[in-house]
Subunit: 666 residues, 2 copies
């Protein structure tokens, strides 16, 4: 089928070379070519093509398909000698986009934990077989009654020196492990987080490797109760599970002993610096930021293309129906999220780069920069996932009815990425973690200490008035976000101090300032995004036109950021009435400026149709043909006349309804 | 099982009599007793208890269950002689909460359209059999290519005077009817919206009654292609369908002729005032507002109770873990939405009352108040559904991981109510409709015309400064919202004029002011909600304590409304810096004031557990027991060892994976 003429026109009207921007996003021509090569292997694979479309799978089929694809892709990656993380991701995305693998935690948490915390002997015993899937593991931390507060976890591991074993137990209903991915039906081993008791003393949480299913027949081990936790909003390809231990004994050397150990007689000793394990958290959160950017960019690709193809209503009476992307209100829904998609991808890259730089230091025992990285990663994980979550839902609604159908692909993307707001640190908790760091830094700054690098904006004297003009100079924009972040941190810090002066404990004062603290953390994160986005864009050196469109995106991101939180910028008179009006006008001007490049900017993300799986976001724009095909595949359309006609409709129509006798009522 | 002690404590701490507030919500003691009586009949019904829980139903089972419940409930209602709309709703809600009936459009649109637009003969022929389900109908308006812009619909009805028939045709792919509820597999008749052609002239959209399936065997009629449109985010109990006509002939008298007719020779004449049909739209939208309030109140009931039961983290180190509802950040997520739930239910009631008052006038040919009602209903439908949509999702996330499970009941409520943002007028289109009215009213006011009743705030001179103080006097609050609404309407109107003075056509000017117009409409709707909520609350006369807690809710709603859009209130200096700070402080104070009554306020909505269907929102607070029971019922737990172990996991673990030969790749 030929490409929809509206999309053809859009692609011709772009002022920049789309391919050049795509090369930038994927680290150059060669890596981009390699990405496409690998994707095409997947797209041409007959086995991977043989699955029922995801939107018609039952829960059992979702899980089965998840496992089968995972196993097959593992073989495929090994046949192709793939070891690069990015390349692995391209293949997984091409084959199972937004379909979380039941073995995702095996690769993402079980193996890395063993790598970091196992001693040499344990590496041989657990890690090596796990790398070959002889052992299938998951990470069992969250319990029915505790997620956020891991110190409150109730599962116990009590050392018995007589037999040199730990007794693993779930003492209460709420202590059952609940939620770990792959736990329900797949895993036969877990890394278990449990409270370590030895010599009648609790030493807090430690990690243990525990076998939960037999290697012979996969049946639960004696004393182990395990299963799937049931259907969820998304993630239904994954067997998130529950797990209960009834005094299960495991050998002493099943405790991961790199940073702490229990001797034969039960003596507990720490060794090494466990802070190094914090690095993993930063890495995971940096990846979440990047993933939020990817999910948002997929959604925005779908919606931008559809908005270029969809024609509706009339601007002039009797005139041609315009493309809906020409409506200013539609631009307001889409364009800021195109900007955010680019921003978050760039931020993800920066965070990963920072992580690798700083974790090198940490391996050498240097932890000074750890704190700022840790606090910022926590805040940014929350900030980007919040915007992504609201953003994708807003984009879905920008497609009217068709967005609500699974045919659009949008509900699938959304439902499988929103857990990012909750896992690896619930967002509000993350903001508060970030805010506590900010408030401490503020106190240091007040004392006159020169803060390092990114926090140094707290050392600057507060300006009374913004010098922002219609030029939107980068420095003025950044300064505005610095001003608001500094002011809101000050407000939160002042609230804390005031409450404590009135006699509140630190803890009560913190709780009663927490709404203000979250607000401060958000402002700090927004500043980080604006500043890094500006810096990265100004460092880009592709060609004039690419640089120009990226610069427009950057301005748009900043201007919308001000417009969204106008009160914060105006409250102390920093932004004047006329500047506020200017921002509102600039935003509309930037929409108009971006308009000719909208489709080009989403094309540049380079998501093939097989990744988007959207009838309305197709590259060729033949959306209506695709929607009709989708409809025909409905499970209700297997027969012209549905079975329910005979059981229910006909009796209802003939007034002969018996429904097993309404006498059932009494 | 006994009630969770935290909930017991909460219920004791409420400062008001919950039952009295419930009586107020349900129109008095007697009606409340009747509601509970009817609900209990449903809850004790064995047949209705016999269905598989909804979260484990396949698509086919969802549809089948929907039909069976609908048919059975119809019989039940008739056995109980129920004719009152509210009572019907109580029964449906008790039996199938958030499970949209496949025959919902039959009762909600097909029958009412016949009632309003059919002539006497058509009433006998269509309406009477439809009332007895001999005919099952739906309302076929939306097409694949057109939703919002109904004038753009492409389906044609061409009169052929030779045979005295209309030829119904779908001339293009995009002209297929797409989305109507119950169309896919259930309906055998439709009210069809099509462009009427007679004597070579198009007379625009008219309604026709068209048979689409045989009365004998339910097979599609000759020339008709019909089916289900496939799986969606929600509404999967409903067979939303597609429908294509290939030159299908229907008799002349199948056109609904009350307001227009075509004579035998093809002469077209209008009769009566079709504006009366606009009233239906207002009624439907008023019901949507009320339904948004109901859905939000269900979600907020679940989340408030769970937040009282859930304990997490520590405020004091080593101290007891507090109820999460004691965290200020949690209060910020929940309490404004308790206030909104009450506000929207009250607004729904007011709108219905206004509708009945004004539609009485309309029947007498008096249309003067129609316009304001129509514009306000459009805006409020959008405004309340937007807040509900974001609100329920925020509430879901306030429950951490458990909110994401279908066990929480929250995804179900959300997925089945969010279409309210799209159907019966897409929200942005609704805001713009409302805004166009506001801008016209503003022009009238500028000319010195005294506006009627609710719009009269545009006649007032603009105050420079707010007199709002910590007392939060109702008049000052309302005045603040009036000020912002008036100012933003002025900004939108000025933008329109400025653009037109620069040479833009009205249409272009409107489009380039549309972001500002939407903002103005939102401010007007917020004013309406605040004002009516205040008025209704001050008219309540139950007892001092009930009045007091309602007054707190009202203040909280208003204060949060200002805090959310602080920039709008500050931009022209109306609210000062110190007033802005006061608002922020007041909000936190009101959270603390509301805290002891939170559970009481949601209990007062009086949703039985069978309606909420939530493990975490149970009245008795035994959430963990319920979550474990839910998990055990997972479809993956039918056997200890899942089938996939044999097909996939074991071969993977043994390195013997063949997956139909990875040779399938080439």
């Amino acid at each position: 089928m030929s490409v929809n003429p509206d999309l053809l026109k859009e692609r011709k009207s772009a002022t920049f070379d789309v391919e050049k921007l795509t090369e930038l996003l994927y680290n150059g021509k060669d890596k981009l070519r390699r990405r496409r090569y690998l994707q095409n292997i997947v797209f041409q694979d007959k086995y991977l093509q043989s699955f029922k479309p995801w939107w018609n799978r039952t829960r059992n089929e979702k899980y089965e398909t998840g496992l089968k694809k995972t196993a097959y892709l593992d073989k495929l990656k090994s046949d192709l000698n793939i070891t690069d993380r990015a390349e692995e991701y391209y293949i997984t995305q091409a084959a199972a986009s937004s379909e979380p693998s039941p073995l995702g935690v095996h690769g993402g948490m079980f193996l890395p934990t063993l790598e970091k915390q196992a001693n040499k002997e344990q590496i041989e015993r657990y890690l090596k077989p796990a790398q070959q899937y002889k052992i299938i593991g998951t990470y069992a931390q969250t319990e029915l009654g505790h997620g956020t507060f891991i110190r409150g976890l109730e599962t116990t591991a009590t050392y018995d020196p007589k037999t040199e074993e730990f007794i693993i137990n779930s003492p209460t209903l709420t202590s059952m492990k609940y939620w770990p991915g792959g736990l329900g039906k797949s895993a036969n081993y877990v890394v278990l987080m449990a409270q370590l008791y030895t010599k009648e003393k609790c030493h807090g949480l430690h990690s243990f490797v525990v076998q939960i299913r037999s290697m012979d027949d996969h049946k639960p081990m004696p004393g182990v109760t395990v299963g799937d936790i049931g259907n969820k909003l998304g993630y239904n390809s994954n067997d998130n599970g529950f797990l209960i231990f009834d005094h299960v004994r495991i050998p002493r050397d099943a405790m991961l002993m790199r940073y702490a150990k229990v001797d034969k007689d039960g003596t507990y000793t720490r060794s090494g610096d466990a802070r190094i394990t914090y690095g993993t958290m930063v890495l995971v959160r940096a990846n979440i930021v990047a993933n939020c950017g990817f999910a948002l960019s997929q959604a925005v690709t779908i919606v931008t293309r559809y908005s270029a193809v969809r024609r509706q209503t009339e601007i002039k009476p009797g005139g041609e129906e315009p493309q809906v992307i020409d409506y200013q209100t539609q631009q307001e829904k889409i364009f800021p999220l195109i900007a955010a998609s680019y921003a978050f991808q760039f931020i993800g890259i920066t965070m990963l780069r920072e992580y690798f730089r700083i974790s090198g230091d940490m391996e050498r025992g240097e932890f000074s920069e750890m704190q700022v990285l840790h606090a910022t990663a926590a805040g940014l994980k929350a900030f980007t996932s919040d915007i992504m979550n609201n953003g994708i839902d807003r984009l879905r609604m920008a497609c009217g009815g068709h967005g609500y159908s699974h045919a659009s692909g949008l509900p699938k993307i959304w439902a499988n990425i929103v857990p990012a707001c909750t896992y690896e640190g619930e967002n509000t908790v993350m903001y508060l973690q970030c805010a506590r760091y900010l408030v401490k830094q503020y106190a240091e700054a007040v004392k006159g200490k020169k803060l390092s690098d990114f926090m140094s904006y707290l050392n600057k004297p507060m300006k009374q008035r913004s010098s922002l003009t219609t030029d939107l100079r980068t420095n003025d924009l950044i300064e505005a976000f610095e001003h608001v972040a500094a002011r809101l941190i000050q407000v939160a810090a002042t609230s804390l101090q005031t409450l404590m002066k009135k006699g509140a404990t630190m803890e009560i004062a913190r709780n009663n300032s927490s709404v203000l603290m979250v607000r401060a953390a958000k402002a700090h994160c927004q500043l980080y995004v604006v500043k890094i986005f500006c810096e990265m864009v100004s460092a880009v050196n592709v060609d004039t036109e690419v640089n120009k469109v990226l610069n427009t995106l950057c301005q748009l991101y900043a201007v919308c950021g001000i417009n969204d939180k106008l009160g914060d910028f105006m409250q102390d008179g920093y932004l004047s009435e006329s500047q506020a009006e200017m921002i509102s006008n600039k935003m509309l001007e930037l929409f108009a400026e971006l308009r000719p490049n909208a489709v080009g900017l989403v094309d540049a993300f380079d998501y093939p149709d097989q990744v988007l799986q959207s009838c309305i976001g197709r590259y060729d724009g033949n959306v209506y043909e695709a929607l009709y095909e989708y409809a025909k595949g409905s499970p209700l359309n297997k027969t012209d006349v549905h079975e329910s006609y005979y059981t229910t409709l006909r009796p209802l129509m003939k007034g002969e309804l018996s429904v097993d006798g309404p006498s059932a009522r009494l």
